[in-house]
């Protein structure tokens, strides 16, 4: 009550409240007592009306002073700046006298600010400014959905959609098809498989990109020219401008380099090194070739919703214009366009992870600030007598506040500088641990924006940490301080410090629960059985280009021969070959008919397919459930035999024995016979549902069914990590012209596929540990101070017969109250924020009781540990000593 009144009186100018404050408070208290005697209602009425009166007259007094007082104005020539400089000098001296305090405060704050600087640098580059194109928020990704059809929930549309959109959309300013694939680039003797793209020429205008050198492709170029990336230009051509106009072997054709893009142009992903020209011509359209990716630029005023509505309507006209089967027409009726900001599409779940991590570092900063605020508050308590004397001899309140703020600002400035240094050192390490799939991560560095952010954050932290203690200390009644010798400490003063510890505990628990959930997800993900064994498997690809390799069987013979050579390498247990190795490449899909569907040209069940040869299933540890795997005869002769996955068998022939049954790809005439059934595999990652997969033999019954340009070899060997050089020798001997690429161990691929989760988990783990430690330090500090402050009281209690256990219990109880409240708040916050982390989790509920309970117990345990030392100290108080000194 008294402190509230004092705060209200503080609204008046200093001179006024100095002269009349005490009297006003006395009158208010008397009036309030009278009002209370008249009843509760009039007490409330009085409190409200006099509070309002204090506020309005205080503010009026500020605007329109009636009292100037007699304090001498600041001597002439002392500017605000010079006063601050004096105060900062004082503060520096005071801080250097207390190196322990200073080190603790600066270190804590620097650590938290450094983490924030690093995370801000990443977020600023990757999330806030990731698309170096004009008006990036107008760029959208376009796909489709067709509920009720057998297409996936979301699918890439077909080229005819692009034509229709490109010609008729008003909501889209421009639109382009793009893709991404690897193929060979041949420059002189150097041959490599590199990532490239064959977009429509409208890509450049859609993105608003211009070449740094040369020109952009036009329709007349057909598909005979390329523009290359800045990276390729530097690494392959030594930044030689004369590369423009030269012709190289690119993806099986001679193409001319006509331009070099700037270093910012990296579409659709970081590793894309060149772009082949091309366009879609209406006369070449076969409707229904789904799987095309589209990027569009919205016109001014358009939103993703309006674009989606317009595109959905435009697509309805496609069957009329391009024809197609009845099932195509039906699908178009079900089709709806999906339009999403390109940024979301490119970042995927990485964005969520980064935002969560940014939130986490901000929490750590808050916790650190709470600790430092507590440190300053304890320090201010210790200096109350000193402040009271300064006040008595004429220092104004604002001078005292400035003096205290100078210290915290100095601490913050030191911490900010240290934080920038820390971030500069730690950022490269952090980025190396980050998953490679996050775009533009290699561009992250400590730039001006990050440094500015850090300094502003430091300034704000300094103010936040210093302002409350400074205000409180300067408000304390100085006369009372002088009288009781600065010893008096009212319990009311503790609520703020306790509140800070409650907040810290809550935030720390929130972070702990978050990282606990991620750890559980990671464990679950590691225990997933993907259907294959990732241990001791080495995989690579190479694409021979030789004269005699002209038809399916000759290719098959080449690969089968090479498989034999690989099998002969010492230490190799088995070898196999597959078109798309799991975790590295996706499989193709098509519709397959069983015998019952033979008569219906539109029928078919969508299945994925891939080609395989050698001992693939045994090498990968894929379980054979029924029948037999391929043998060499299957690879080279008719009739075509296939192996299907368990889910594929179930889809095609539910409840029946699939062995000996036949299936046919929709657009083909060949019937394949099922000879074996194998376990499902997770092709794209451990979060996937297993795919329905058809394994075709390397060479089917006809040369036209052959479809392998560059298969992936898999080798089971205990020497998977070190076998690459020997294999390279074999490849060089068999196909000197072919580069070896996509060289991995399956264990490495598995690790990569979990990289994002493990990265988020590790970072959040480090942050939450930091939060836990800081929270414990905060609690320890508050309790230690409380014990020191109450030494005399404890002495009296002991003298009056309290046992040591009583005293210890008293201290622990104080800590337990604070921690308990913090835990409750933390749990509530964790429940409230569970929706944010839910999408990052895997097979763990966002409310996982084990994690919530375990982490609460951990926090409580650490909290009690932090209580233990102060409790110990309290119980060792010597009553005689404490009473004599007190």
């Amino acid at each position: 009550m008294k402190s509230l009144l004092r705060a209200l009186v503080g609204i008046f100018p200093e001179a006024f409240s100095d002269r009349f404050g005490a009297e006003m408070i006395a009158q208010l208290e008397l009036d309030f007592d009278r009002a209370r005697r008249r009843g509760r209602l009039s007490a409330v009425e009085f409190a409200l009306s006099s509070g309002l009166n204090l506020i309005t007259s205080g503010l009026t007094e500020r605007r329109n002073p009636t009292w100037v007082g007699f304090r001498r104005p600041a001597p002439k020539g002392t500017t605000m700046l010079s006063q601050w400089i004096t105060d900062l000098r004082h503060a520096a001296r005071a801080l250097s006298r207390r190196p322990g305090f200073t080190l603790m405060a600066v270190g804590t704050l620097a650590l938290a600010l450094g983490a924030n600087a690093g995370m801000f640098g990443v977020v600023n580059t990757v999330l806030l400014d990731p698309l170096p194109y004009g008006q990036p928020n107008r760029l959208v990704n376009i796909s489709g959905t067709a509920p009720g059809s057998d297409l996936p929930e979301e699918f890439g549309v077909a080229p005819e959609f692009y034509l229709e959109y490109h010609e008729h959309s008003r909501q889209l300013k421009d639109v382009a098809i793009y893709n991404s694939f690897t193929s060979t680039l041949r420059v002189g003797d150097r041959v490599e498989r590199i990532r490239m793209s064959a977009p429509t020429n409208s890509l450049y205008s859609t993105l608003g990109a211009q070449p740094a050198l040369g020109r952009l492709p036009v329709a007349a170029d057909e598909s005979h020219v390329v523009v290359i990336s800045d990276e390729l230009w530097r690494t392959w051509f030594g930044s030689d401008p004369s590369v423009v106009g030269r012709t190289y072997g690119i993806s099986g054709e001679s193409r001319e380099v006509i331009g070099v893009m700037g270093p910012d142009f990296r579409f659709p992903n970081d590793g894309t090194l060149l772009w082949i020209s091309g366009d879609v011509r209406p006369e070449e359209i076969t409707p229904g070739r789904f799987g095309t990716r589209l990027v569009g630029r919205m016109a001014a005023g358009a939103t993703p919703e309006t674009v989606a509505n317009e595109l959905t309507t435009l697509a309805r006209r496609l069957p009329e214009r391009f024809g197609g089967s009845p099932s195509y027409a039906k699908l178009i009726q079900q089709h709806h366009a999906i339009v999403r900001p390109l940024l979301d599409e490119m970042l995927g779940s990485a964005a969520k992870s980064l935002w969560v991590l940014l939130g986490a570092v901000a929490f750590v900063l808050l916790i650190a600030c709470a600790n430092i605020t507590n440190l300053f508050m304890v320090r201010a308590e210790g200096r109350r007598r000193d402040l009271a004397i300064r006040r008595a001899v004429g220092a104004s309140r604002s001078q005292l506040i400035r003096l205290q703020l100078a210290e915290s600002l100095l601490v913050a400035a030191l911490a900010g500088a240290l934080a920038i240094l820390l971030a500069a050192l730690a950022l490269p390490i952090f980025l190396r641990a980050a998953p490679a799939r996050i775009p533009r991560l290699d561009e992250v560095h400590l730039d001006g924006a990050t440094i500015l952010f850090t300094l502003v954050a430091a300034l704000l932290s300094g103010l936040a940490c210093g302002l409350i203690p400074a205000l409180r200390a300067s408000m304390a009644s100085h006369v009372a301080q002088l009288r009781d010798g600065g010893r008096g400490a009212t319990p009311g003063r503790h609520w703020l410090r306790d509140g800070l510890v409650v907040g810290q505990t809550a935030l720390a628990l929130l972070l702990l629960i978050g990282s606990g959930l991620l750890v559980r997800s990671f464990q679950a993900l590691r225990q997933v059985d993907p259907g294959y064994d990732t241990q001791d498997v080495f995989t690579f690809q190479f694409a021979p280009e030789q004269e005699q390799l002209k038809d399916g069987p000759s290719w098959a013979r080449f690969h089968l021969e090479f498989l034999k050579r690989l099998a002969a390498v010492p230490g190799v247990t088995s070898v196999g070959l597959v078109e798309n190795v799991p975790l590295n490449e996706g499989t193709s899909d098509d519709r397959f008919r069983n015998e019952a569907m033979a008569s219906d040209p539109d029928a078919g069940i969508p299945l994925n397919y891939t080609f395989t040869a050698g001992d693939y299933f045994r090498t990968m540890g894929i379980k054979l459930l029924q029948g037999r795997p391929f043998d060499t005869a299957d690879q080279l002769s008719t009739p075509g035999n296939v192996v299907v996955s368990r889910t594929a068998a179930k889809l095609m022939w539910p409840g029946k024995n699939p062995i000996g049954r036949r299936l046919q790809a929709r657009d083909e005439t060949t019937w394949y016979t099922v000879v074996g059934v194998v376990e499902d595999v997770m092709q794209d990652g451990f979060r996937d549902t297993p795919q329905a997969l058809v394994y075709l033999p390397l060479v089917g019954p006809t040369p036209t069914s052959w479809d392998i340009s560059s298969p992936a070899y898999v080798i089971k060997t205990a020497r998977a990590e070190v076998i690459a050089p020997e294999i390279r020798e074999l490849v060089r001997a068999a196909a000197p012209e072919a580069p070896m690429y996509r060289i991995f161990t399956m264990a490495g691929l598995a690790k990569d596929s979990m990289a994002q989760l493990s990265f988020t988990m590790l970072t959040l783990g480090v942050l939450s540990t930091l939060a836990l430690i800081l929270g414990a330090i905060g609690l320890y500090g508050v309790l230690s101070y409380a014990v020191a402050e109450r030494t005399r009281e404890i002495g009296v209690r002991l003298a009056l017969g309290a046992t040591v256990a009583n005293v210890r219990r008293m201290v622990v109880a104080q800590g337990a109250r604070v921690v308990g409240l913090g835990l409750v708040l933390g749990l509530v916050a964790a429940l409230a924020s569970s929706r944010i982390v839910a999408s990052l989790l895997f097979s763990v509920a966002a409310f996982d009781p084990a994690t919530f309970g375990g982490m609460s117990a951990l926090m409580a345990g650490v909290g009690l540990l932090a209580c233990f030392l102060p409790a110990q100290r309290a119980s060792s108080v010597d009553p005689v000593e404490s009473l004599r000194n007190g």
Partner: protein
């Protein structure tokens, strides 16, 4: 001069008073129409002091209290006494005019 200012001067015309006593006097002498809150009262007091109409008093019979916790006493200065007298005369004159008019009014009806 505002009503409250007038009443504060009026209260102090009776002798030296401390703040709360001023408030009580104002309340009773205005027959309850004025019950100043602390904020308003002390702003008026400050204004009167700045204008030199009220000064701080140090009564001889009151023991010197603790500094800071003191009841401070206030008294009229000579200027304050003059200002009060002027205002009282003005009010009286104004009231007389009003009385007459109202009486006239009453007589006509």
């Amino acid at each position: 001069m505002s009503n409250l200012e007038y009443h504060v001067l009026l209260a102090l015309a009776n002798g030296q008073l401390h703040g709360y006593a001023i408030k009580d006097a104002v309340e009773s002498e205005s027959e309850g129409t004025l019950a100043p809150h602390a904020g308003s009262l002390y702003r008026v007091l400050a204004r009167l002091m700045t204008a030199g109409l009220v000064g701080e008093a140090y009564p001889a019979d009151e023991p010197t209290p603790h500094p800071g916790l003191s009841r401070r006493y206030y008294e009229l200065t000579a200027a304050g006494r003059k200002a009060l007298a002027l205002e009282a005369r003005r009010l009286l004159a104004a009231a007389t005019v009003a009385e007459k008019r109202l009486g006239l009014f009453r007589g006509r009806s």
